[in-house]
Amino acid sequence: MKTLKELNEIRAKTLDSVNLRKQRIGTRVVVGMATCGIAAGARPVLMAFVDEVARRALRDVMVTQTGCIGVCRLEPLVEVYRPGEDKVTYVNVKPEQVARIVSEHIVNGNPVDEWTIGAADKE
C-alpha cells in the first residue's frame, strides 16, 4: 500500500458488499418467492434485480424477497416501494424486463404502467 488511492480502491470494491448490512430508508424491491413464485421463475428475476442494482451501483436500493403475495396466477410478482409513494406491483415479470423497471421506475420515478397489476387486470 503506497497511496491513498490504492486504499480507496479497496474501499470502493468492498463497500457494496458491506453496505448491505446497514439499515436504510431507500427503495425496496420485493420479489415474491413462495412456491408459486419460484415455480413461475422468480429466482432469475430476483438475481436480475440484484445484478442490475449492482451494475448501476444504486447504494440505497434494497432487493429482498417475500412469501406468497396472493395472486399466484400472476407470478412472478415484484413490488417496488419508493419512500413516500404508493407501492407498485409488477406481474408476470421476466428477467429481461428488469433493466427497464430499474431505469424508468427505480432511478427516474416513472412506473412502467403496462407491466403493473392494474394493466393485467384490464385484460
Binding site: 500500500m1 486504499l7 470494491k13 458491506v18 439499515q23 418467492m33 440484484v50 429482498t64
Partner: protein
Amino acid sequence: MELFRSHVLVCGGTGCTSSGSAQIIEQFEKHIAERGLEREIKVVRTGCFGLCEAGPVVIVYPEGAFYSRVKPEDVNEIVEEHLLKGRIVQRLIYKGDGAAPERERSLDKIGFYKKQKRIALRNCGVIDPENIDEYIAMDGYQALAKVLGGMKPMDVVNTVLESGLRGRGGAGFPTGLKWKFAMGGATPKYIVCNADEGDPGAFMDRSVLEGDPHAVLEAMAIAGYAVGASQGYIYVRAEYPIAVKRLGIAIGQAREYGLLGKNIFGSEFDFDIELRLGAGAFVCGEETALFSSIEGERGEPRPKPPFPAVKGVFGGPTIINNVETLANIPQIIVRGPEWFSAIGTEKSKGTKVFALGGKVNNTGLVEVPMGTTLREIVYEIGGGIPGGKAFKAAQTGGPSGGCIPAEHLDTPIDYDSLAAIGSMMGSGGLIVLDEDDCMVDIARFFLEFTVDESCGKCPPCRIGTRRMLEILERIVSGKGEPGDIDKLIKLGSTIKRTAMCGLGQSAPNPVLSTIRYFRDEYEAHINEKRCPAGHCKALMRYIIDPDKCKRCGICARACPVGAISGDKTRPYTIDPAVCVKCGLCIEKCRFGAIYTK
C-alpha cells in the same frame, strides 16, 4: 466483484462460539450449498453483537432479521424459509424485551440497542474481522492515511487532546496528555496496547479484539507516528484464543497490504506490531508489571516514577493504552475532535463499553454515551432484573471498584461522578446485584480474587489484603467480632495509601464501598449473626413453623445428623447447633412447614 443478495451474519465472539456458533456456520454453509445458493448468499463470521444472553445470534440482511438462540437444527428452516422463500422464521426472532411483537424485528428496534451509541464497537458484529477489505470498506485505515498524508505529530497529539478522550482501562487519564509526555525524550520509543483484561466478568476488550482487530492496529500506528515510535506490542491474555488468532491474522494482512512495515503509504514512517501473550496473572494488567512481562521478566510492578512516558518497556519512552481507548482513536482522527467531544459529559467525553452481567435480563456488551444513568443501563438496555426482584446495587470496576446502591441509580455515569460516590469507572465490568445478594460476601469474593492475584512484592498488598480477607471470612461464617468493621476500614485505608501499584491501591475498594453503603449488613452479620439477604450459609437457620407442623416426623427421619426432635405430642424443632443446613428437611416436608431465615 461478487455481489450477494443476502448476508447471513453469525456471531463468532467467545460467548456465541461457546454456545455453538461454529456448528451453525457449518450448517448454513451445508444447507446453502445443498440448494445451490452459494452465489446469492454470503455467510459471514463477525465479532460480538453484544446481546450475549440471547446467543448464538444470527442476523440476516438486507432485512436485518435478528435471530436469537439459534440451534444447529434450526438452520435448515432458516435457509428453506427465509433465504429461499423470503419468509422470516418468526419462531426464532428475538422477542426478549417484551415489546409488542412486530413482523420484522430488526436490530435498531430492540430496546437493548436503542439507547446505545457504538463507537468503539461500531464494526463489531458488522464486518468479518478476518477480512481486512471489509474494515477498509468501513473507512478503515483512512485515519492513518490522513495522519501520514499531511498531519504533523503535534497536530495528531493535539487532536487527541482536544477530543477529551480519557483512558478506558479504568483510571481515566487523558490519552492526549499521555501521548504528549512521550513526544520528547530518548529513542527508541514503544507503543504498547494493554489487552490483559483481567477483571472477573469483564469482556469489553476481548470483544473489540475479536470483532474489529484492525481498529487497534491502526490506532497503534497513529500513536507511533505521533511520538516517533516504530515498534508496537500488544500484550494479550493467552486465555483469549479467538482474539489472539484474529490479531495474528490482522497483523499478517496489514503487513501484506503495507499498512504495517516499512514506508507506510510511501512515507518515511515505519511501524510494526508484535503480539505478546500473557499467562493469566492479573497483576500484569498493571502497566509496569506488563512491561516486565514483555521483557521476559517476572510480572512484578516497578515503582512510579519513572512513568512509562519517560521509561517504559525496554527502558524506552512508552505509550501504553487500553484496547478500548485505542479503538476510539481512528474515528477521532477521521471525524474530528469536535465530533467526539460533543458526545458525553463535561469532563468525560465519548462513550463507554460495559460488560453487563449478574442479575440482569440482557447480559452482554453495551456501549453508551458517558452520562447515561445506571437506571437506563440496568432497566432500559439491560431489561431489568429477572424474576421482578429488587435492585440492590451495581458493582463497577471489578476487584478495583466499588458498588453503587439503589439511591444512586440516577447518577450519570462518568469518571468523576462515580469517583464521587466511592466507586470507579473501572475497565467496564458492571455486575448487577439484587436483594438475594449479600454485600459482605460480594466484598469477600473480590478480595479473595485480589489476594490470589497479589504478586507479593510489597507487604501492604501481600499481608494487608490477606488480613482483611481473614476478617471477612470470619464475619460471613458467623464469627465476626465487634470492632471488625473499624479494623477493616483502618487496614483498607492504610493499604490504599501504601501499596506499590494499582492492584494493591485499589484492592480494598470493594470492601470500603460496601461498608459505606451497606454497613447495616455488616453489623447484622457481626452482632446478630444474621445475613439479611439469606445468602451466607453459615448464618442461615432452618426453622419449623409449629402451626404448620403436622407432627408426622418425616423430617426427623430424613435428617442425616439427627438435629430434629419432637413427637406426636409436641411440634418438631431443629437444634441449630447440630443442623448442617443440608436442606433435606425442607425437601421432605409435605406441608411446607420448614423455612430458612
